[in-house]
Amino acid sequence: MSVQASNKRQEEVGESQRGVLRPVEKRTITVAVAGNPNAGKSTLINAIAGTKLHVGNWPGVTVEKKEASFDYGGRRIKLVDLPGTYSLSPYTQEEIIARDYLVHERPDLIINVVDATNLERNLYLTVQLMELGIPVVMALNIYDEAEAKGYRIDVQGIEQMLGITVVPTSATRKSGLDELLQSVLATADDPAGHIPQQLNYGEDIEAAAQFMAESLHKSHPSLVDKYPKRWLLLKLMEGDGNLQKEVNIGQEALLDEALHHLKRAHGEDIEAVMADTRYSLASGLTREVLQKPELRKTELTEKIDRVVLNRFLGIPIFLAAMWITFKLTFDLSKPFSDWIGTMISGPFKRWAEALVGFIHAPDWTASLVTDGIISGVGNVLVFVPVIFAMMFFITFLEGSGYMARAAFVMDRAMHAIGLHGKSFIPMLLGFGCNVPAIYATRTLENQRDKTLTALLIPLMSCGARLPVYVVFIGAFFPSHAGTVLWSLYVMGIALAIMMGFIFKRTLFRGEAPMFIMELPPYRMPTFRSLMIHTWEKGKHFLIKAGTYILAFSVIAWFLLNLPWGVEHKKDSYLGQVGQVVAPALKPLGFGQWEAGSSLIAGLVAKEIVVGTMAEIYVKKDEDKKKEKPTFAEDLKEVGISFAKASKDSLANVVSTAGITSISADESAEKAAERNPLREELKKQYTPLGAYAFIVFVLLYIPCVVAIVAMVQELGSWKWFGVTFVYQMALAWGAAFIVYQGGRLLGLGG
């Protein structure tokens, strides 16, 4: 049977080669890259393909798919990165993606990335890959660390026993990569000579397989050509549910007969027997080829873990690490965000105005371009520094191995709201800005955690809501500013815990997933991989969110300025909508149309609430218009202020000032400029109504960017619907309780 199988495979290969009309040299070699999580797979691919990497999603799921095509040795090679898996069983999304690709797309060969410091478990996957009958080249990765540990690995021994090429590599040091690609070419040129050895699974399994092979040939001849034969047989025998569905062979007489003896000898659970067989092959092979030094020193990783995971020190250390990350992110990026903001509202707007004036475009185009498009794009661009800085630090924490520890440490506390430790990080980031926080949920393993976390993130009061609080607090509660501000943040957290409880018992009913994950050894991430992964994470935001934001900004502009030539903002579409929603907001203590309009405008970005109110309430000061600076002056300003931003950014990192102090100072300045607005607000709202208003601002939909991020990350509009409904209900409910409750308590209306 073994001879038959490999002959058959050789014939297939021969045929497909004969069938290709183009010369072999011109054909693209498709290479699937498979391996365990933490085996250094993505580092290896980055080291090989670098910037040619194309990141997308596997169809229908939110698992990342990386591909890279490049020329090497005069040939074209296409690398397809399969999700990291421990096995090819059909139990997780990653496993299913990996095996479907290998079975149905049939790559020319597989690069199996193996962690040399942890051979046994990695070889378990290798054994399964070999069942597919596709040539395998093993990248024995992290070889330098294995050597440093004093491991002696018999590379030729693995090659002989498995019948595959083995190349020791170190992706972080970029060694062995050329040899690896050479082996890929050599294997691709002679696939038939590189079919992996067919391992012997023991008498009973082999006998059953033989019997099955013969019966299948008669009953389902088409199947035998469609699937890798060995794999088909083994999977049918172990009762692989997905495959049974695919081929329509389930509990049939054929199977019963073949498995009769096997079941009598080993019990009903063939899958377990098969897993044991594979594992003992991996384990036996490891024993043959690996020599470990006798004395094992306590490794650095364990020493660090003893401190970092200590039951008393763990949480303080984690919080400190998070605080530093958080602070560095905002300190580094804030000056650049501000710079982009001022540049866009200043010089760029003026240039655009000049340009539009130059071509004698009608007034409304000028307004559309400057107030709609440029402001809109500006809204996106100011997020760019924050997002990239945050993604950089997250990538660093991930790459260094600390992220997994953070999950470990916070796991217990997060169980209360039906989540795992890992979810804590995105939620914390939400206090800075909800958008990168939602993007950060992609570091979570499973869809349930990801969705639930993303749903709760908007309740973390982000930096953009602060200006609104500051204006209202400044007008109504100047003597209790700190307490009022604190109450808002605490309310957000308390409601997040409450919603977590509710979601856990409704939409996300059922077991919270059991926590089991590997904590990789600490490693210093390479600068190159940091850069590549940061770019990958941030790029999504730039491209996709950018297009949506632009569209929404243009829509908002139209709403505020149409019908064209409106004298009063009240008559604009936005004003009209404000009037429509006003009655619904009346029980909350802010039933003025201005409040409604501002809140709607605030959907684009919360900062806009203040801007819109200022525009509506405060009459435009025409005298304010200063002399327009010349183009050259503008250009100079752009340069100087960029230099200043860079300097501030560096100074921030060095300084020890708190994050809040920086943003609060900034907002206080802004607020001071809007003093006329404060006076107007005092006339329009009662203190209780004002507090209800800021509670509403805290709780309703954060902004369009966050929504886009959510739709993008969760892959459907359904969860947007859930967020929209629950946040609106929560915001309305909370504001209602605050206002009506306050009135009952006699706090005035």
Binding site: P37, V63, T85, Y86, S87, S89, Y91, T92, Q93, E94, T117, N118, E120, R121, Y124, E268, D269, E271, A272, A275, D276, Y279, T301, E302, D305, R306, L309, N310, R311, G314, A404, A407, F408, V409, D411, R412, E445, N446, Q447, R448, G510, E511, P513, M514, F515, I516, M517, E518, L519, P520, P521
Partner: protein
């Protein structure tokens, strides 16, 4: 025989039985909208394996060393994996 979850930090044991619900020993977290890598056995926790408890600090998950990897496991799983204690 004792549950793995009762080992103290620094102690070692050998896995003798895994009592997770279904026959394939997969933890029941793998529902349709829930991808995860929780097959205990794929992570190297199998019968006959020596494990070392690295961190069992009261509540929360515990940290094991199996072969050359560190595996964090929820207490719920650890209580269903039976071991016999091994003295060094």
């Amino acid at each position: 025989m004792m549950p793995l979850g009762l080992l103290n930090s620094g102690e070692q044991g050998e896995i003798v039985a895994i009592r997770l619900q279904n026959t394939s020993h997969s933890v029941q977290c793998c529902t349709e909208n829930n991808k995860c890598d929780c097959r205990v056995e794929d992570m190297g926790l199998r019968i006959g394996k020596k494990v070392e408890m690295l961190n069992n600090g009261g509540g929360g998950p515990l940290l094991l060393k199996v072969d050359e990897s560190r595996i964090a496991v929820a207490r719920g799983i650890a209580m269903k994996i039976m071991i016999k204690e091994v003295t060094r």
